[in-house]
Symmetry: C2
Subunit: 499 residues, 2 copies
Amino acid sequence: MTKRPFDRLRKRLAEVSDLTKAATLLVWDQRVMMPPGGSAARADALGTLSRLAQECFVAPEIGGLLEELRGLEESCDYDSFEASLIRVTRRDYEKATRVPPELVGEMRRAAALALAAWGPAKEDSDFEAFRPHLETNVELRHRYVDCFDPPQETYDVLLDDYEPDMKTAEVRQIFDGLKEQLVPLIQEIGQAGEIDDSFLTGSFDPHEQRELGLEIARRFGYTDEEWRLDQTPHPFMTTPGFGDIRLTSNLRPDDLSSLFATMHEFGHGAYEWGVDPGFARTPLGSGVSLGVHESQSRTWENLVGRSRSFWRYFYPRLQEVFPDEFGAVDEEMFYRAVNKVHPSLIRIDADEVTYNLHIIVRFELEQELIEGRLAVKDLPAAWNARMHEYLGVEVPSDAHGVLQDMHWAAGSLGYFPTYALGNVISVQIWERALEDLGDLDDRFERGEFGDLLEWLHLHLYVLGRKFTPQETIERVTGSRIDAEPYLRYLREKLAPQPA
Amino acid sequence: MTKRPFDRLRKRLAEVSDLTKAATLLVWDQRVMMPPGGSAARADALGTLSRLAQECFVAPEIGGLLEELRGLEESCDYDSFEASLIRVTRRDYEKATRVPPELVGEMRRAAALALAAWGPAKEDSDFEAFRPHLETNVELRHRYVDCFDPPQETYDVLLDDYEPDMKTAEVRQIFDGLKEQLVPLIQEIGQAGEIDDSFLTGSFDPHEQRELGLEIARRFGYTDEEWRLDQTPHPFMTTPGFGDIRLTSNLRPDDLSSLFATMHEFGHGAYEWGVDPGFARTPLGSGVSLGVHESQSRTWENLVGRSRSFWRYFYPRLQEVFPDEFGAVDEEMFYRAVNKVHPSLIRIDADEVTYNLHIIVRFELEQELIEGRLAVKDLPAAWNARMHEYLGVEVPSDAHGVLQDMHWAAGSLGYFPTYALGNVISVQIWERALEDLGDLDDRFERGEFGDLLEWLHLHLYVLGRKFTPQETIERVTGSRIDAEPYLRYLREKLAPQPA
């Protein structure tokens, strides 16, 4: 105990981080590798690890060290590692000490069990099999909310876990602005006539898809040394440790959506990969919020992966691999097809415009659930009605409706809004990158993505959680969250052109 | 804290078990899935988890509970769950409290780093790249040995971790007996002339091998619900949780050794799979010792998997899959080839007879290392000399010599002798099973292995760690460890028959 208080704090935080990363691996494994028989044991192990991580973090010793370190924090630059670590840890600590470790463990355990039930329930489109788990998750979130001072809106507490400092009212304002402009845009596009995308459905060998996805990801910056790519029903990215980035994609034999999923998850992975290695095993060592995270997945999936210049580079390769399907389809037809705007049932397959309405549906339902205005048993009907109202689609089954996403199974209520926020932020950051780098299209056409990765790495990824999400966005873009660039981008790219 | 002391003990032990199982998964993942870039972070996480598991286990609260529970233990049957759990936990506790958690964490961390270095070192046959790691591991074992009362022989302390209560002197006596009978047996077999096994080398599609291995394992009792099979350079089995049995096999494209590796690891898996589910999350919930464990892997690999009756059932299937290789090879030729006795370089490929000499070489070298009579830097030369002396083979490179096994990288010194003990025990148990079940060959010929699995399950697997290894062996076989049945089995099966 002769060490400096700052070193003692780091040591404690490293321990918490190790436990958290171990839990991360347990979840990855559960979703990617574990035989189903392991579910119960895994839920127990996750419950214990999460509880212990929480216990280690909220230990009075850490509180004491944070007090002791106020002097050091004040004597260091705001931007310094020391001040940032103390500041961010204090914020996390003040929040974490509100929540009993038992509750944290119980939430994790219940989520592991719910996840195990969700897979088969989705497969059988059997909401009733999943309902009790979701009820438990919602009930546990009520207990979680009760740990904090009464917020302006109950949902604020949930949202804060994924988008720190953001309030429900702010999100609502942004989403109202999106809805106001996107609904007429969707109508306008719909009236301009149907785009042919029939060739995107066919027979696409999953093995080939995986290889193509890897080929793209490697062009972007994926290496076998530090990354891996697996197959899951629901694509995701996770990092069980520094230098260990795990992507999954959903390789469906009848469409090419896995390519976009791989690019999407690459974006998440790149953000984590680029965090300052000096932040490893500290609370600074990850992306700053899920909104900012999603901005990066959407950047690589959409701003890069659905651009004309990307496909100028990659479409010949795709034609080479699938000559029967694409031999007679020219590049422009393909480009328009992968950018077709059309209301549909599945969020992760939605186009860039209607995607946001999928999110708004979930945002509204989550608020109603957590505020007790909607019972879990009534959720499927409410889902189907809302999808009809906002997107004009009929939901044929819960598998294509309320059961499609795993987030609620994983206990992640309050997470979905960050997806649409990510869209908004992505274009703000993108415009700044273009200001510095100039036009990127000629580089993309040559399959060169290194300049973009480097810019994002140096301006954003490296920062990790050093600053708040708002500070981070302002540092990178010079402004607060603002939907206008995103809406402008969508109109320029996708609104019908005057003949 | 109003709970009964026994329940409080179970709760504490469940926590320790969860941490240990999480560490188990981290190791599995490191060896099977993790990109190499994750090594450093993984070593840190493993160090922390192992240290915390140790800290949780040696907590004074557990010591206090064990004292409180002496009355309960005495009032319950020796065979009862309660008495067994208290008794076994006390034994573990008395041993564990000798070792500082920091040392446990450090051993685990060093082993993770050594394992990461071993892979490439073996690939490049570069002992020097591995040497510092092995030196660290040996040095840490010295510190570990120092935690205990001076033993009769230093090696006793290491051995006890893998084969509790067994002394080096006992092992030496058994091994001397083996050496005495096996060396002339090997000579006798060698003089009887060469068996043709050239057809076992060829081109065998690894994917087909994997499918065949799974086919066999499923016949034995493997299910997708609770098991999985992956590919690693060194086959192994591990259980990151009840109902979650993980096997790996080494799918080499030029031979069929993976089939035997898969059967071998199935045996380990079956033992863990069969432990009483009521023992989950307690110190009773695993196999009792590595010797008994190995007896089961060798049972399924050799007593079943190298038997005539097994191949009567399975050889037609093998011929079907590899018609070019085996179309002209009859069943008896094949049977004799997979049972060919011939001194060779690689332990895991060795035949049933010479295998034991591979173990004896390691057993002797380990004693010399831990007693300081042999320096790590001199190990390759000592290895090569001993292999020449005992097996008459010349070691062409360290990859085929001292670097071939991962055990020393994983810090497992004292582990190897259990392999030969396992051979000995396997036949003792096998003979008891045959007494109850009668001749099994007709069942094996029909591809029926369920009676054997059930017998082993009910008589051995289910016991877990309830009794000591000696008690377990005596309960199952009616006698102490005895090499005679094994030697008789080897002679009957493999000694040249009088013309």
